[in-house]
């Protein structure tokens, strides 16, 4: 018996470890983006984000304080200070080697003195304290350049979010795109629900010829690729004067979302108890009353799950927005489109890209974690037969 128990617990451990590995593997890429959005340009391009949690070695080009801060000490002219404090770097950094020329950045160890001839003698300590002394008065407007290789503690910044949300240029700033996306998303989520709910009620609880064919048609339209709709509908919109704009994209999302909405809601409404609805009918309620007073409140879970689907889908959509919404002026750009443009023009600027992407991901993630229950329920209703 003990051997069976032993293998069983061994297997359980294996399960725990493999699940942990799987979860970490799945989280790893997202965490990378998240961490990168809090790092500066230099940090991102000099080391992998996974090193951001640990102190890391950096090469910095710093300057001593300007000569006008010099003091006279006996017959010497002296500039003193802390090289990190003077340059707004982290005070907890520790210098391993340093130099005074870009060709020899590792000439000296902390505590040694570099003789720069006419420019004086510079001593730098490991913690960044320095002393520059000269026999004659120091001149010039800027301090001496010092090249240090220092180990700095992890440092994170909110500057990227500041740039992306508030201060950035038209290309970097996502605030407008954020509101545009919201403007697209909310009507495009609400309107199909209303239309589909009525249709689903009719398909579930009313008897009329052709019902079966209509249901089959909805199932068929469920899988029609929206790529087919692009050109005909764009022509239609341009033809009837809607053109490219919000109205067009709302209508398009409504049309494309309807099959799933009708299908999900009908499947749910069919499952509602027949007694309630028939009793109401006997009591003289009209179909409209039954629908608004009984069926709609009872169908809340299905309505919620479709709302989440449609919200995620419209928020994350790129193709429909590109075709029906965004015109040549780019005034109505949405976040997905702006990120793609950033990818094209600023493929290397990871701090902006990562932050912009994370801003666009944040809202769906919040919705996802808050409403996961309904999302799962909707998925199950939509695909498990």
């Amino acid at each position: 018996m003990s051997s069976i128990a032993g293998t069983k617990s061994g297997l359980t451990w294996a399960v725990h470890i493999s699940v942990l590995a799987l979860v970490l593997l799945w989280l790893f890429p997202t965490v990378g983006l998240f961490v990168s959005s809090f790092r500066t340009t230099d940090q991102i391009s000099s080391s992998g984000w996974w090193k951001a949690m640990f102190p890391q070695e950096q090469n910095l080009v710093l300057r001593t304080a300007a000569p006008d801060t010099q003091k006279q000490d006996g017959d010497l002219f002296v500039v003193e200070g802390n090289i990190f404090a003077d340059n707004n770097e982290s005070l907890e950094s520790e210098i391993s080697v340093w130099g005074v020329s870009s060709r020899a950045i590792a000439d000296y160890v902390p505590g040694e003195t570099a003789d720069m001839g006419d420019d004086g003698r510079l001593t730098v300590q490991a913690n960044g304290d320095y002393r520059l002394e000269n026999d004659v008065e120091l001149s010039g407007s800027r301090g001496e350049r010092v090249f240090v290789t220092a180990v700095s503690p992890p440092k994170f910044t909110l500057d990227n979010y500041e740039t992306v949300l508030f201060s950035g240029t038209a290309r970097d700033n996502m605030a407008k795109a954020f509101f545009n996306t919201l403007t697209v998303t909310i009507p495009a989520t609400v309107i199909p629900i209303v239309i589909a709910a009525f249709a689903a009620y009719a398909l579930a609880w009313m008897r009329f010829p052709g019902r079966a064919i209509l249901i089959a048609a909805v199932v068929a339209l469920l899988v029609v690729p929206l790529q087919l709709a692009l050109i005909p509908l764009l022509r239609l919109h341009l033809g009837i004067g809607i053109g490219k704009g919000y109205l067009g994209v709302w209508l398009a999302h409504t049309g494309f979302g309807l099959p799933l909405a009708v299908y999900l809601l009908r499947n749910y409404m069919v499952g509602l108890p027949r007694d309630i609805i028939e009793n109401a009918k006997v009591d003289g309620a009209t179909d409209f009353q039954i629908f608004t007073r009984i069926v709609l409140p009872l169908s809340f879970p299905a309505l919620a799950s479709f709302a989440i689907f449609q919200f995620l889908w419209t928020w994350n959509d790129l193709l429909v927005a590109k075709v029906f919404l965004i015109d040549a002026t780019g005034e109505t750009t949405v976040m997905t489109n702006q990120i793609v443009e950033l990818l094209g023009t600023r493929g290397g600027n990871w701090e902006i890209l990562a932050t912009a992407a994370f801003v666009s991901i944040a809202v769906p993630l919040v919705v996802f974690f808050a409403m996961q229950r309904y999302l799962v329920r909707g998925l199950l209703a939509g695909s498990v037969k």
Partner: protein
């Protein structure tokens, strides 16, 4: 905030308009057109009840017809005309032109690769994670985290994976995880183990798995069981087709194993992963697999929970080990769900656009049909060929469409 205000007004007008339409049209039918009073009350009630469903359905039917059904026919018509010639009918000329373009065949080949790899991998990972998380305490948390990429847009996921695949020149610190990992291989024993033996083992396992599947599918054709199996007329050709497809897959994986051992790997050079022809397709597929695994897991996990406990208990009593229980008891019982998951992911794959558009835009031989179509429609402004490629996507979707409708009708009876 002008557009936001406009949006608010649209919500109010749209929703109010819809509700107003439904309410007023019902009132109109009941009170004005067929009033339920007077000498013809009975007949009027019946008539009102005949009209009412169509009142409820009209907006939905109108929107579905205009936004989905009409475009299918219109695209078909456009694919047979030439825009430059004023929309003249040109027969199959657009299709002919498309068939002569190497980019189209590249897109077809890549789409087929996507179709094979992504649904298979996502379903397999989904099944694995569903089974593993099923019985552990923190399983629900693990599930949420694996499911999370579902909420992330394809564009967001593309940025995430662009960072993973990022390349820095040799000598600098790599900031992409994949290159950092790659640079740690030096051609020694570990490299051979992880880059040649392990993938080879996985590929051989896959080949064996497919071979077994092919054997199961083709067996009724060879032995005399076919007559007993109640095969429909289409069963035999389908079996042959699936069998041939499987055999091709086995051939591909065996060839890949051969290449694995003969190829010289450029150790120590940072790779620009997205520009390596053929293999870059797989790096793009990883993004979609990463997203879709959660979906597969959630549905398969619900199916696994729906398996009657007695069947598993009986197997345990009969001394089956966990692997036997999984493959011989559980998987056959959820086969229907696996098929549903597979087809759903297949549909996503057929329409895949954003990932390729954002990451490579079809360069370096990564073109897929949807992006090819977008190229033709909006960059080359060739609506004829663009529509023709849209029709190709539609044709690829059609078998699933037919299958879904067939199942839905069967269910309703």
């Amino acid at each position: 905030m002008h557009p936001a205000l406009q949006g608010l007004i649209t919500i109010v007008v749209g929703v109010g308009g819809c509700i107003g339409y439904f309410y007023l049209s019902n009132v109109f039918v009941d009170k004005v057109l067929f009033p339920a009073s007077g000498p013809q009350a009975g007949r009027n009630i019946n008539r009102a009840n005949m009209v009412r469903p169509w009142l409820f359905l009209f907006p939905a039917i109108f929107a579905l017809g205009l936004y989905l059904a009409y475009p299918v026919l219109e695209t078909l018509r456009l694919s047979l005309t030439d825009r430059d010639a004023g929309g003249a009918f040109v027969g199959l000329a657009n299709y002919k032109q498309m068939a002569q373009e190497p980019k189209f065949w590249e897109a077809m080949r890549n789409n087929m690769l996507w179709l094979i790899v992504v649904p298979a991998a996502a379903t397999a990972f989904g099944l694995l994670s569903a089974q593993l998380t099923d019985r552990i305490k923190w399983g629900n948390i693990a599930k949420s985290l694996i499911f999370m990429p579902m909420a992330i847009s394809f564009v967001g996921a593309s940025v995430i994976f662009k960072l993973v695949y990022d390349t820095r020149p040799a000598g600098e610190d790599q900031i992409g995880v994949l290159n950092a990992l790659w640079m740690s291989f030096d051609g020694g024993v570990f490299s051979t183990l992880f880059l040649r033996l392990l993938p080879a083992a996985i590929l051989l396992g896959f080949a064996a798995f497919v071979l077994y599947g092919v054997y199961l599918i083709v067996r009724p054709l060879i032995s005399s069981e076919a007559s007993r199996g109640g095969g429909s007329w289409w069963a035999a050709p389908l079996r042959v087709a699936v069998g041939l497809g499987g055999a091709w897959l086995v051939f591909l994986s065996l060839r890949s194993v051969f290449h694995l051992f003969t190829a010289t790997l450029p150790y120590g050079d940072p790779q620009t992963w997205l520009t390596i022809p053929y293999w870059n397709n797989f790096f793009l597929m990883v993004v979609l697999i990463w997203i879709q695994t959660g979906f597969a897991m959630v549905i398969l996990s619900a199916a696994l929970r729906g398996i009657p406990e007695e069947t598993i208990e009986a197997a345990v009593i009969d001394g089956a080990n966990p692997f036997d229980i999984f493959f011989k008891i559980k998987v056959p019982q959820i086969m229907g769900t696996i098929v549903v998951v597979w087809t759903t992911i297949t549909l996503v794959v057929l329409k895949i656009f954003d990932i390729v558009f954002a990451m490579t835009n079809g360069q370096w031989e990564t073109q897929v049909l949807a992006n090819y179509m977008y190229d033709k429609l909006f960059r080359a402004n060739d609506w004829g060929v663009g529509s023709a490629s849209a029709i190709v996507i539609m044709l690829l979707v059609t078998p699933i469409l037919v299958w879904n409708v067939y199942n839905a009708r069967k269910e309703m009876r």
